[in-house]
């Protein structure tokens, strides 16, 4: 009799399974709430590792090149070739000796085995595709010359629309970064728009979302916040204007800091091989290599940088880009190095008081931006 009542009290086996599954869901919810949503200010020991090298200044492109004078004057598609925009008319400094690094560590990509093979055919297809280009803004100050373009490639469901900023600065110190709420921490987030406005930015693009990870190199505006590497590639902008991408195995924090690291991002992967060619493999997973909205930073020469934001997940307007396609877009713009920044809903570009692109789902808050400050020309 007692046994029978005990048996009646026991929950059926399927109910236990449901309770355990609900327990797993609740556990995940609590975990994500603590670790991914609640902001934590991190009290880290910061260290100033580099200062602006004012002795090294780069020439801005001659103002005559701005017959395309900005103020949102648009030109018909196909009326401007890529060559005319930003390259042919502007003085090239590529030949003027990029400062050699003492250890000769220059084109270090492709020395190691990455995880995902790049797709040469995708790369070629984008390189060969006609680009429709429209200048949508230009601004020039004493320290910077920024032109932004809306570009599109391919047709139909395969169409890719992206926004490109051709940035010339007179000193590497003019490429700045900012944290959300001006605070280094975990899950401290704000919109790209707010961060840009708070920092008086002329141009801004999302950064590497450092606040989403507990590890990874963070050097911003010459201050070292974190020096633990993770498994992702590292991009470094030096005070001499040189930008380099490193595999995690190659990255030597002491050496990089000794050489004057002004900014360092840890997301990736690195896309180009240092000569504008496609990296044979990418340090990422095949899941992350699919077509997505993306942002990228590219290096042409000291003082000349390209930033691109590719829209995606909206067929007919823009399908997004794979990493090989993004590499081709950056190579097409003359970059020798290019680096994938945080993408998806994070991919956003700001210029002169507005977000240029159409972020997926309206975009999301994130932890950092890369920007060029608005300064009035004297």
């Amino acid at each position: 009799m007692e046994d029978a009542s005990k048996k009646r009290k026991m929950l059926p086996f399927w109910a236990l399974i449901i309770i355990d599954v609900l327990g797993i869901c609740s556990g995940m919810g609590v975990y994500l709430l603590f670790d991914y949503i609640m902001p934590h200010k991190l009290d880290v020991k910061t260290e100033v590792v580099a200062e602006v090298d004012s002795s090294r200044s780069f020439d801005l492109p001659s103002d005559s090149s701005q017959a395309d004078t900005a103020d949102s004057e648009s030109e018909p598609a196909d009326s401007i070739s890529d060559h005319d925009l930003g390259k042919g008319k502007r003085p090239s400094r590529r030949g003027d000796s990029e400062p050699e690094r003492e250890d000769g560590k220059r084109n270090l990509s492709n020395q190691y085995t990455y995880n995902v093979e790049s797709d040469e055919s995708e790369f070629r297809r984008i390189l060969d595709a006609n680009t429709n280009t429209e200048l949508i803004g230009h601004s020039r100050t004493d320290n910077a010359d920024v032109s932004v373009y809306e570009k599109s490639l391919l047709d139909g469901d395969e169409k890719i629309t992206y926004y490109l900023a051709d940035v010339y600065v007179s000193n590497a110190g003019d490429i700045l970064t900012a944290f959300a709420e001006d605070t280094f921490g975990k899950n401290i987030k704000d919109t790209v728009y707010n961060m840009a406005e708070d920092n008086n930015a002329l141009f801004a693009v999302n950064g590497d979302y450092y606040g989403n990870a507990e590890n990874g190199i963070v050097i911003r505006n010459g201050v070292k916040y974190r020096d633990t590497t993770n498994d992702a590639d590292v991009l470094v902008l030096y005070t001499d204007g040189v930008m380099r991408a490193y595999l995690p195995e190659e990255y030597d924090p002491d050496e990089v800091i000794a050489q004057g690291a002004w900014q360092a991002w840890n997301f990736g992967p690195s896309l180009l091989d240092g000569e504008g060619g496609l990296n044979k493999t990418f340090n990422t997973t095949s899941y992350l290599n699919s077509k997505n909205p993306r942002s990228a930073a590219g290096y042409v020469e000291p003082g000349h940088y390209i930033f691109a934001t590719v829209d995606g997940r909206d067929k007919g307007y823009s399908s997004g880009a794979t990493l090989s396609e993004l590499a081709a877009i950056m190579s097409k713009e003359g970059c020798v190095y290019a680096y994938n920044l945080d993408g998806g809903k994070s991919a956003m570009m700001y210029f002169d008081g507005r977000i240029l692109n159409r972020p997926d789902g309206g975009g999301r808050d994130m932890s950092d931006i890369i920007y060029v400050e608005r300064q009035e020309a004297e």
Binding site: I19, V21, D231, A232, Y287
Partner: protein, 66 residues
């Protein structure tokens, strides 16, 4: 003691389920790095302790039944 022996297997199952999810998410997007986070390390410790105690109970009851 009885209550503990009833609850611990469920804690073990829940934590095991969470770590399977972390593992899958890390395969898809390694930059999220769920498994190596500080909080995950603490959960891993709880998971191990819970698994050991659950197993000890299981062995004990199994021997008693024999």
């Amino acid at each position: 003691m009885k209550k503990l022996s009833r609850i611990l297997p469920h804690i073990t199952i829940i934590l095991a389920g969470m770590f399977i999810i972390f593992w899958i998410l890390d395969i898809l997007n390694p930059t999220m790095n769920f498994i190596n986070r500080r909080l995950s390390n603490k959960l891993l410790l709880i998971f191990c302790i819970s698994a050991i105690i659950t197993s000890v109970f299981a062995v004990y009851y199994e021997r008693r039944q024999r």
